[in-house]
Structures are given as C-alpha cells and as structure tokens.
Symmetry: C2
Subunit: 301 residues, 2 copies
C-alpha cells in the first residue's frame, strides 16, 4: 500500500492568511524552520494506479497537481482518483469536493451523519448535481473491499469506526462525531488507520489503532488552551473536538507505548509548536519514535 500525505495542516493551512502568531510569522520569514503546510488530506493506493483520497480539503486541486500519479495519464480529461473517503463534515475536510466538479461523477464514501451535514448544511449534493454529480457510498463497519468507480476490487479492504468529536459548526443539529478509517492492503496485509480528528481517547479507539502499521493521527493542538495562550482565539481544544497531543492525558502519552511502526501527526493547527522544526515539543514527539507529517511524505507498507 502506497500512502501520500497531500496536506498536513488543520483548517486554514499554515501559515494562515490572517494569522500573525509566532508560528505563522516564522513560516513566512524562515520557512526552513517552520515548513508551510496545506490542509490535511492523504492519497492511498494498493496498485499505484487507482487512488483514494482521504478527505477533500480546499487545497486539493493544488495537492493533486503536486502528485503526478493522480493526474490524467494520456487522456484529455481524467483522473486516477477512484473515490474520496470523508472522516468529517468540517469545511476543511469537505470543501474540496466542490473543486473537483469539472470531472466525472465523484464517488464519495461518508457515514450518514457526515453526508447529511454536507448536504443539508452546504448543499453539496444539490450543487454538484449541476456539474459532475455524486455517488454516495456508506463505508462498512466491518472490513470490506474498497471498490473503484466501476465497482471492481482495488486490493484494499476498509472499514469506518466512530470517533468522539464535535459536529461541524455550520450544522450542529446532527449527530456530530465523524469516523476514522482502517485500510488494509489485501496483498501485504499492511494496515493504515486514518484518524485526523479525535476528541477523546477511548478503549474503542485504542483497539482500532493498536495493531496497525501506520497511524495518521490528530495533531491539531499541542495544548488545551493553546489558542488563548497565543491570543488568537478563545476556544479550547476540547471545545473544538480535538484531544491535545501534549500533557499527561494527551495523545502522545497514548501512542508512546504502542508498537506502531509509523505514528504520524497530521491536521496540525497553525498555533501548534510542533510546527517549529527545533521546538521542544517536536523533540518530545520524536523522542518516542513518532513524527510530525509534512506535505509530500510518502510511505510504502
């Protein structure tokens, strides 16, 4: 299974257009010390030919452009994107769908609550019906073949599992929480867990991640009160549905002891000190053998 991190920043990207926090200023002035990152997403393929996108940030067209295997190959119009798997209805996970409207019908895998939120709150279904159209697929709770656009197997089995979280701010009426995905290469047996948003580390989450080969994990905030400390916002990490990385109850302590070969933080907010290449927080992550993802990082499992 080949995995490409298309983007690794949280909503707004890094640096963020209107942010003058210490991190964003450093990313503009000395990008070698704080690498710019586009909004979070990944691409996965078992055969290197048919690819699935994990989430659809508004940076998706540029991310596709930067990764030739996704581009049309010898055809006038086309794509190697066989489907898009959504974990959440958040704008930074879904607006990219509208930016793929020039192509063929999109195949979007999303749990019912996410599908409802984007269709009621953003009218994604109605809008895209005027362009490419959408075929919705409900991801299975138990591993099942991940099919391409022609409903042929692609060598990957996948399942979605519920994740504690917040509903999108634009549609709070729904159930809220999104999902994580487990993807398994039917050939090599390699397992990827994609979990870019998680509000709480439950036993169920632990069970989902503990035996995987690669974990792409929510790295939005280092600390619960990070936005307040930097004077750029008043909301806490919890209120925004993200378990912080640091602290005695943070996700780093949870994953430190797990025997997962690749533990990679993604969806990193512009305020997170993990974005600074030489920060103490970055060293703490690397000290346990985990890492902070960057745009363009690839894994072969």
């Amino acid at each position: 299974m080949r995995i490409r991190l298309l983007g690794t920043a949280a909503g707004g990207g890094f640096p963020q257009w209107n942010c003058g926090c210490v991190n964003c200023c450093l990313a503009r002035a000395e990008p070698a010390r704080a690498w710019p990152r586009s909004q979070c997403g990944a691409a996965v393929s078992a055969d290197g030919r048919r690819w699935f996108l994990l989430n659809a940030s508004p940076d998706l067209p540029a991310q596709i452009q930067a990764f030739p295997p996704l581009l049309p190959d010898g055809v006038r119009r086309g794509t190697a994107v066989e489907g898009i798997l959504l974990t959440s209805a958040d704008l930074d996970c879904t607006l990219g769908l509208l930016l793929l409207r020039e192509g063929e019908r999109l195949t979007v895998h999303a749990p019912a609550a996410v599908r409802q939120a984007v269709n009621v709150g953003l009218r994604i279904d109605r809008v895209l019906a005027c362009y490419c159209g959408v075929e919705w697929r409900l991801p299975p709770a138990e591993p099942a073949p991940l099919l391409d656009r022609r409903s042929e197997p692609t060598g990957i089995r996948y399942a979605a599992f519920p994740v504690p979280g917040q509903p999108p701010r634009y549609h709070t009426a729904g159930e809220g929480g999104g999902v994580g995905y487990r993807l398994e290469d039917e050939g090599s047996g390699a397992r990827l867990v994609f979990l870019p948003g998680v509000a709480e580390w439950t036993e169920s989450i632990q069970a989902q991640v503990q035996d995987c080969d690669a974990l792409l994990l929510d790295g939005t905030f280092w600390a619960e009160d990070e936005m307040q400390r930097l004077d750029v916002g008043s909301r806490t990490a919890s209120a925004m549905g993200h378990l912080p990385v640091g602290g005695p109850h943070g996700s780093l302590m949870r994953i430190a002891a797990l025997r997962i070969p690749h533990r990679i933080y993604v969806h990193v907010n512009n305020t997170n000190p993990l974005l600074i290449e030489d920060s103490a927080e970055r060293r703490a992550v690397e000290a346990v053998g985990a890492m902070v993802g960057w745009d363009g990082l690839e894994l072969s499992l």
Copy 2:
C-alpha cells in the same frame, strides 16, 4: 491606485487537476512556455494600506499569502482586506468567501442577484454566520465612495454596471447576469474597469470601458467552439456566458481600437491558446497593444 492581479485563470485554474489538454500538459512539462495561473481575482487599494478584493476564488488564501500587503501587519490576527466585491455568483468567484471564515466579519459588496444566488444556492450567509459573519453591501449604480470596514472613505469611488451573462449553473432560477465594476482613484483620477465575465459586447459595455485607464477583461475563451475542438467538453463559449476573444466579433476586435492604456485579459480558461507564451493568438493580442494577465502582475495608476 495600486492594482495586483491575484489570479488570472478561469474556474479550475491552470493547469486544471483533471485536464490533459495540450495546454495543461505544456504547463506541467514546460511551465516557462505556459505559465501556471491560479483562479481569477485582483486586489485594489488607493492608499496601499486598505485593500479591496475583486472576487473571491478558492485560491484566495494562497494568493493573499503571496502578496504581503494583505497579510496581518504586527497584529496577532488581522488583515488589510476591507471588503470583497463580487461580479458573479459563479463558484470560482465566490467559494473563497468560505476560506476567509477564520477572520473578522467579512464585508461583501454584491448586486442583489449575486447575493441571492450564493445565499440560496450555497448557503454562504448561513454558513459564514457560524464563523465570521457577513455584512452585505449593495454596490451603487452611480459612482460613490468605497468605504472601509469602519465606513470610512478609502479614496476610491466605485460603481457596478450590469453585464450580459449566464446565471451560475447551481442556481439558474435567478436573474443570472452579474456586473462589472468601475473604480476611480479620487486623487489621481485613474479609472479601472473589472469585467472578468461578459457574454456580449453591448453599447452599454462599450460606454463603460472606453474612457478607463485599465481594463481587466474576460479572456475565458479564444474561440466559440474551443472546448469541443480540444475534445474536453461540449459547451460553447456563449453557452457558458463568455464572449470569445478571437474572431471577427470577438472582444479583441472591440478593444483594439480603444485608447485604453492597459487592456489586460484575465479569467483565461485552461483551453485558451492565449496561455501559450509563443502562440499566434498571444501575438495577435500583443500586436494591438493588449496583453494577457499573469498572477502577480501589478499596476500603479
């Protein structure tokens, strides 16, 4: 008046994520012969401090990042963007509004039909109300001061004029046509006309543009049947609401005789041969003293 072209391509940008036409392939293989371009928009300021955006493409955050005068200046969160003027409700002109949601309330200037289309068709107003909120302003038909967020004059007078065109595909129930803008520097008297979408060259359009100092004009298609010829689509330029540049009735013939110092094509579709640096079509434009805009081009009038 200072003018910056933030982006100069039509919807989908150049190259387009799923396009393998000759232009897009050249832009990927030899970008010096076909410069990549982001989606159309511009920034305008009379005092160099308070800026107005002309349209809001989904490439806006990256475009802001690439133009330091728009960035927060010595503040934790902030922007020099005082307002956004919309010409059309098309997705490539408006989706960027959702990507400015992390800031303060947006001030958006739009004619009633455009406002209705984005609010009914995309729920822009309802969605942004959950984040930054929007203050809508109706652009005047006769020149009036363009005010900043605090309703202070900015040294620019502006007016919107109706333009023949198509309604956005996602909301065809409305009136359809968008507007063009005339902006005049109250100090220098310099006049800019922003007209990135026009379906027909009427006497009224002619009257609006003929005495300006700079014209940013719809350069979407060179030819009426360009999409068909390149085998990437079946819709004609007219059906998509754009007067072609070339041909005996094209816009180039219209502007060739006008004494406008800066005649610049923008909103150029990925299929347009004008994008090729050494094409005959490019030479034809330059032969009459007009030009094809590029991302980052600046004018001082």
